[in-house]
């Protein structure tokens, strides 16, 4: 009896961790882009949606294996992000964060409905092989879930290396710390911003694929609905702080899993929202101390 409870709890934890790992990829992307552009991008959810659909296209129509489709999706969404930024955000950059925020909502709407128009509203799934879950100590874990977790960890690792070991990473950190100062010390901030958009959007695309794989099926609205969860993780972690976002994502993932199981299964997003509101009330700068 107690063993059952324990393995149940472990199950919930595992699920929460996998959940959190999907959120983490998105949250890190969002926070990286915020750090450098200084506005809350409500269109970020659409990068997830586009990532999932692009991967779907490449995998089903193109017949490529899922991992190839994922890479293509990441690159594609990365480019999309740069293009979107260039067309919609760059021209009004000097107006301040508010017009940018509202514009991003319009862009989100535009992108979402373009997707709906072209792809329809039917739910889709990526052709991921159906493998039976394996059992470890009474806990059922699907190999797909493990793959998702591993990919997410690799992505986190890659971001970490990017930030600490590369020139771009250093420039990103400098620009997000103080853009004026960065520019004055000779950093081509336009180029840094452009490349950050690429990385952040590509991360969003990857998050979308992971989301689609872990929680099929997906629809044009999937990314948008997930956006709030990503926001919760990002703000919990401290906006603009990538490592905070990783921690925040795991916490939100766990909270959603625990809440769904132990409190009420009919509320899912509500747990993420509740965390978000709680953070904003108690400690808006989050775990790692970000500020808007």
């Amino acid at each position: 009896m107690v063993l059952d409870l324990i393995s149940q709890f472990a199950q919930v934890l595992v699920f929460g961790l996998i959940n959190g790992s999907v959120i983490a990829v998105g949250a890190v992307g969002l926070t990286l882009s915020y750090g450098v552009t200084r506005f809350i991008n409500f269109a970020y959810g659409e990068f997830l949606t586009y990532g999932a659909f692009l991967a779907f296209l490449v995998a089903t129509v193109g017949g490529a294996p899922v991992y190839v489709a994922t890479i293509v999706a990441m690159a594609g969404v990365g480019v999309l992000g740069v293009v979107i930024a260039r067309i919609f955000f760059k021209p009004i950059r000097e107006r301040g964060p508010l017009p940018l925020l509202i514009t991003s909502i319009g862009v989100a709407f535009l992108l979402r409905n373009l997707m709906r128009g072209v792809a329809g509203t039917d739910p889709q799934s990526l052709p991921v092989p159906l493998i039976r879950p394996i059992s470890i100590g009474g806990v059922q874990i699907s190999p797909v879930g493990i793959a998702v977790f591993v990919v997410s960890m690799l992505a986190m690792g890659a971001i970490h290396l990017l930030l600490t070991r590369t020139m771009l990473g250093r420039k990103m950190r400098a620009t997000s710390g103080n853009r004026q100062l960065a520019r004055v010390s000779g950093i081509d901030t336009d180029s840094v911003i452009r490349r950050t958009w690429f990385v952040a959007s590509a991360a969003g695309g990857l998050a979308g694929v992971l989301l689609a794989v872990q929680f099929p099926p997906f629809r044009p609205i999937t990314g948008w609905r997930f956006l709030l969860v990503v926001f919760a993780a990002t703000i919990l972690g401290g906006i603009g702080k990538p490592y905070g976002a990783m921690a925040g994502a795991l916490i939100v993932g766990l909270a959603m899993s625990l809440g769904s199981f132990y409190v009420s299964g009919s509320y899912t997003l509500a747990y993420a929202f509740a965390i978000l509101v709680a953070v904003l009330l108690v400690r808006p700068e989050g775990i790692a101390g970000g500020e808007i």
Binding site: G96, P99, I105, G106, L114, R116, G117, S266
Partner: protein
Amino acid sequence: MAIELPGMVSFLLSMTTLALIYALLALGLNVHYGYTGLLNFGHVAFFAAGAYTAAIVTIPPPGTVSGGADYAIGLGVPMPFGVVISLGASALVGGILALLIGLTSVRLGNHYLAIATFALAGIFEEFIRNEAWLTRGVIGLNNVPKPGRSALGADLWGLVYMLFAAALVVGTYLVIERLMGAPFGRLLKGIREDEQAARMLGKSTSQVKLKSFAIGGAIAGIAGAVYAHYIGSVVAGQFIPLVTFLVWVAVLLGGLASNRGVILGAFVLIAFREVTRFLPEIEGYPTLVPSLRFAVIGLLLVLVIRFKPEGLLGNPDELVTTGDDT
């Protein structure tokens, strides 16, 4: 006394009534954002609160309806005078909900307020869907009475109700204009531009923001009641973020703090949405045209912000952006 109206007129009446409801929503959001600068991205929650309140106040008591699970509360206040009570209750509930949400967020910076209101509206939406004992979830409360419907017959009622909605819009407009013409309006605008500076001049800005929140929420509540009594049913699936988004476009299109402007914006938007319903479908792509209609609205928002940020009827002198100093 049944009067028959041609289908086109019926359609126009229906479109106008809907536009008037959105005009009320826009007037409410204008108080929040146009005047006070509050980024309220959860406006649909106040609309829903008003609609459900109107429903609960006027639907017959539980046990009288068949088909599906029953609801737990129905006050059955009789029509047609029940409308007044229903409107009052909806305004009250909308205002109180706004106040509660405001209490959690007004001390936060504006961008956090945006996210918080968005999140809280999301929680509210899940609440409506899940607490079927109160709302009958996705099935909805479908027996909301339409005041005067049986006496007037379908078509005449359509006309009379539209006039009723129009009267409410005019009335709300007049009250807001009076409110904003007084020092209260000046106070809101100062807070909109620089809250800290307003505090340094002795103004209790948090209190004022809460008042603004409550007023806008109450107006949205009234819109909800008008909607409920018009459609005759309130269903969870109607109160989605799309509604908030459309109201925002109406407000931004219409103009910063311009009440006439936002009413105009609401009409332009709803007219666009309803008229484009009739555009022909494209073979093989059934969702293309319907979705493009909405994509255009998104694009419209982007264009307004970029090229005419003060909106159609707003005052460009009042518009202040960051890159504005000499």
